[in-house]
Symmetry: C3
Subunit: 203 residues, 3 copies
């Protein structure tokens, strides 16, 4: 089995989102069931909501062995090496940003393939990239990070707009995809590095 570069990146993204869910489960003192469930929900939740909204069922991940195994491995590694995983924060953020970038593009591509208008494609991309984390936060009773602190959806939106413009030019798809992911990862990691925060709305 020969994986393409994109497939390797996608597995890294799935892996990183699964670690994020598993980490949240451990922080809440969940058991092994909670560990696996939250790793799955965080990793496939965004794509699942996209597929439900557009009627693309059965949802794809349910029979995707490779990604399911990646999620289970991520959960086990997180449980066994939790103290190390926490120290790898910078690597995790990088994987997570790659996941955000690739999930955004996957979502947009599904929207384009489904013949939806451009703003809907963008919305499907952002939902794919971010709603797994929203489910994770709602289930664990945390304030949704998506809504309250970090430059997250904005990176996805910026990259998504770029991608949607790009695929209507003659530039080769691979280049557009690479540039988009690079833009999303860069915005996301710079925002973490320099602690950029979206203004909160004050009551």
């Amino acid at each position: 089995m020969q994986l393409t570069f994109i497939q390797v990146l996608e597995l890294l993204g799935i892996f990183a989102f699964a670690i994020s869910g598993a980490t949240a489960a451990i922080n809440k003192s969940y058991d092994v069931i909670g560990l696996l469930a939250l790793a799955f929900i965080t990793s496939v939740g965004g794509g699942t909501i996209r597929d439900l909204l557009t009627g693309a069922t059965p949802v794809a991940w349910i029979t995707d062995e490779r990604s399911n195994i990646a999620i289970i491995i991520a959960a086990i590694i997180t449980a066994l090496f939790f103290s190390y995983v926490k120290k790898l924060n910078r690597w995790l953020n990088t994987f997570d940003a790659i996941g955000l970038g690739l999930f955004t593009i996957t979502g947009i591509n599904k929207g384009v393939a489904g013949g939806f208008p451009m703003p809907v494609c963008l919305l499907l991309g952002v939902i794919t990239g971010t709603f797994g984390g929203l489910l994770r936060d709602v289930i664990t009773g945390e304030h949704p990070i998506l809504f309250t602190r970090e430059i997250y959806a904005v990176a996805s939106i910026a990259g998504g707009v770029l991608y949607l413009i790009g695929i209507h030019t003659n530039i080769p798809r691979d280049i557009i995809l690479s540039v988009t992911v690079a833009v999303i990862v860069t915005i996301r990691l710079l925002s973490l590095r320099y602690n950029w925060q979206f203004p909160r709305l004050k009551a």
Copy 2:
């Protein structure tokens, strides 16, 4: 573009539900992403759950430009004029009650068109009218208003039963619709005016 009276009322309902979501986002100090997301979820959440349960996908709102623009405008207005919006509470409640009435009827009509039995049509109407607010409350971690305090679902049920009886008579549909919305709005606003509360169940 010429809007019918019903379409104007529906846009007002969507608008009012969106303001309700946006207000909740500001009360929780969410950012702009949270503002928009919660406005959308509150406004289209009930109809989305109805469409998912009945398999009517892709869900309708996803390509409904007019309602999406109404939601975005409602969110922006709420953010810019929050202190004024709060003072307009009576107007907001009226819009929200109109939204409840019209969403109830929209849900019932979809059920009838789908050939579902009458109690299921009523259930779909109530879900359409109320589950957007339920999602808003679950996401923000609040006690669901739907379950705990106000005469809300009951107004929707009362109007829905009336509507289901009415459409099996010879009375013109427009009259039935107007009377139903008037009944739902009246019950809802009287309950707020005189502080009628549903009895809570005591443990």
Copy 3:
């Protein structure tokens, strides 16, 4: 109308899950709407999520009069005789365990009928048996029991594996089904009796 033994057990399971939801509603001082809604969501939530994921819509329960009536009766009984219901804890746990067993098998059967691979069938069985309770806990803002304390999903998984092995042998389906439910109920009730707890993950 003549009910088979399995149908009687299924109604008992639906009934028990509905009581569990109704009890949670009363513990939260919800009103009658909350009582009915939480009884329904707890009872049909797992099967609904399974059907949404696999695209089996409209979801089955929506037109299943018999189960809907069972849920409403369960909710009313719980509200009227709450102090007695609480004392019937052991009976409730038995019904609930039967429900878990039968819902697990129902979910697996739907997966097998849909031609899904075995691990997916198992997952659909566990989701059918457990996600109604997860929804109940997320809506009421409680820590999900599914993730934090009890031997619950594990009983479903153990029985599910046994069932999946069994249906690939020559043993009559009725015997396999009875043994599976007995195993799930036994594991569940023994874990309650002897206070077996899954290890929590420590941060």
